[in-house]
């Protein structure tokens, strides 16, 4: 998957899990600025991402994620 495809897929997952049909974000968007992305939804997002991308996050590696681009970096690395 290209970086653009990863971003598009993440956006589709987010719109569904966060129930925000109009949601848009870029690599530079901070998670704290995505209103519906709270700690409860975060874990639902993690589970869905693992399923869709076929990856497994380490328990602590998402702790330092601040913006969408950081998350995509980890997804890209795990997908190899």
């Amino acid at each position: 998957m290209t970086r653009g495809e990863l971003l598009t897929t993440l956006l589709e997952i987010s719109r569904d899990v966060l129930d925000e049909d109009d949601l848009t974000f870029t690599d530079e968007t901070l998670f704290e600025n995505i209103e519906e992305w709270d700690s409860l939804n975060h874990i639902h997002m993690v589970v869905r991402m693992e399923k869709v991308f076929g990856i497994r996050f380490d328990t602590s590696e998402l702790q330092s994620v601040v913006k969408v681009g950081d998350l995509l970096d980890i997804v890209a690395r795990l997908k190899g």
Binding site: I43, H44, V47, Q63, S64
Partner: protein
């Protein structure tokens, strides 16, 4: 030395003058550290020693953790830190509660029992959590640079936030000691505003509405009295703790240091998840980052059940942090139960949001339900123990519905209006410095009213509710 005392005014004023007279950041930091340790010393000599020694231990552990390459060693140093910090907190906060004989042991090593009891009110729970963020953030790769001992000690002992927070993260404080701090009139004005609005909340609202709480929340009154009493307590605890937090932030800002905003119009929250993003943000985000997130990640294969378990672990931890009484565990359980309902009804809420999302009554109704749930929690949070809660609830079983004791209803109404106005002003701009964007006439009127009310109601003796934690 309380914030609202002339001794603190003299101490803070002198330190502030010296701080801005010194041209170099390094010497400013040294002065702040010396001033902060003097502030701690003014509370207790033993506390000052404990603070420095425990900071040194934490700093050494953090260095070992940072130097470790293998995951097993990193985990070991992290768990030693967690064990020592929580053990330290439990010993001083809880051990004398369960095991009075430990006082004798403590006395034999030089700590009189009075010292142990004195430690709790002077910020142990707050600076212990703050201290832990160094090792935790190094473990989670949020702090990557080398951290010096003196900047770490300054972060923990920084006097505006030492007593009751806000529990600032090391990753936010440490970089501020490295940057030059330049005096600005805007920063100074913002600091004075925060101190003034904080003092207003404490002196004018919290200390006055406290009388209503005492009168209404008495055993055997009535259901109406309990309801009014809980609303009054909601006003009191918000005004008290938000007032303290604003003053702490304001004092820090006078020294050019930015500290986390602890309250963001919490009673405007439309669900409990939203409430915890707005109430005691420093603690709730700490618990979220270091308890809920790791727990929910570890339990994610259990699906929604895993989220529910992580929620209960988080809120029972919060209850334990506040105190050893069963009432605090029940308070934590009330919030955990509310959030469990919130998690389990996600699909139903989604359905009704589509149906009624645009109705004007939905948001106020959700805000009212959330506030009532929070007040249900206050029933246990306010009480000294569960027996007191039982005494209050006896009026329900006794069928006493509408009788009211003597209390000043005007204070309750005016306090409610003042808190509503503060929430409204914040929500309109999402800016704690909303006052500076107002017209001159409004600004002048607000300053005059604040000044007059502070002069009218100022009383130096009142302590803050959160000092007990």
């Amino acid at each position: 030395m309380q914030f609202l005392s002339f001794a603190f005014l003299a101490f803070g004023g002198m330190l502030l003058g010296l701080h801005w007279a010194i041209p170099h950041r390094r010497w400013q930091n040294f002065l702040l550290l010396a001033g902060s340790l003097a502030f701690v010393y003014s509370w207790s000599r033993q506390l000052c020693i404990l603070l420095v020694v425990s900071a040194a231990v934490e700093w050494i552990l953090a260095r070992r953790l940072k130097a470790a390459v293998e995951t097993s060693w990193r985990r070991l140093w992290l768990w030693i830190s967690i064990f020592l910090n929580l053990g330290f907190l439990a010993f001083f906060k809880y051990a004398h509660f369960f095991l009075p004989e430990l006082k004798g042991v403590a006395a034999s090593i030089g700590f009189r029992s009075q010292t142990l009891e004195l430690l709790v009110p002077v910020g142990l729970s707050f600076w212990t959590l703050q201290k832990m963020t160094l090792t935790l953030d190094i473990y989670f790769h949020r702090i990557k640079r080398k951290v010096g001992f003196f900047e770490f000690l300054l972060s923990i002992s920084f006097f505006p936030t030492l007593v009751s927070g806000p529990i600032e993260r090391m990753r936010n404080l440490l970089p501020q000691w490295k940057k030059p701090r330049v005096w600005s009139s805007q920063g100074f004005s913002e600091g004075i505003w925060l101190i003034a609005i904080g003092a207003f909340q404490k002196v004018v609202i919290a200390d006055n509405v406290a009388g209503c709480v005492d009168a209404l929340l008495k055993p055997g009154t009535s259901v109406l009295a309990i309801q009014l009493g809980l609303w009054a307590y909601a006003l009191q605890i918000f005004a008290d703790f938000s007032g303290y937090s604003d003053m702490a932030r304001g004092i820090a800002r006078l020294f050019g240091v930015n500290v986390i905003q602890n309250f963001q119009a919490p009673y405007a929250a439309s669900n409990l998840s939203d409430f915890w993003k707005r109430w005691h943000v420093a603690l709730s985000s700490w618990l979220n980052d270091y308890v809920f997130s790791p727990a929910s990640m570890s339990l994610r294969d259990l699906g929604t059940f895993g989220v529910v378990i992580a929620t209960w672990v988080t809120f029972l931890s919060s209850g334990l942090w506040h105190g050893t009484g069963w009432n605090f565990l029940v308070w934590g359980s009330v919030h955990a139960a509310g959030l469990t309902i919130y998690v389990l009804t996600k699909k139903t809420r989604k359905k009704y949001k589509k149906k009624w999302g645009n109705e004007v009554w939905l948001e106020p109704l959700m805000v009212a339900i959330t506030l009532e749930w929070v007040c249900l929690g206050y029933l246990f949070f306010h009480a000294a123990d569960l027996r007191e809660v039982g005494g209050l609830l006896s009026s329900v079983s006794g069928g006493h519905w509408f009788g009211l004791p003597d209390f000043d209803a005007r204070i309750l109404v005016l306090s409610g209006l003042a808190i509503f106005a503060l929430h409204w002003a914040y929500l309109k701009s999402h800016d704690p410095f909303w006052i500076f964007t107002q017209r001159v006439a409004i600004r002048t009127a607000v300053y005059l009213v604040l000044g007059l009310l502070l002069l009218r109601f100022y009383a130096p003796a009142e302590s803050f509710l959160y000092f007990q934690f």
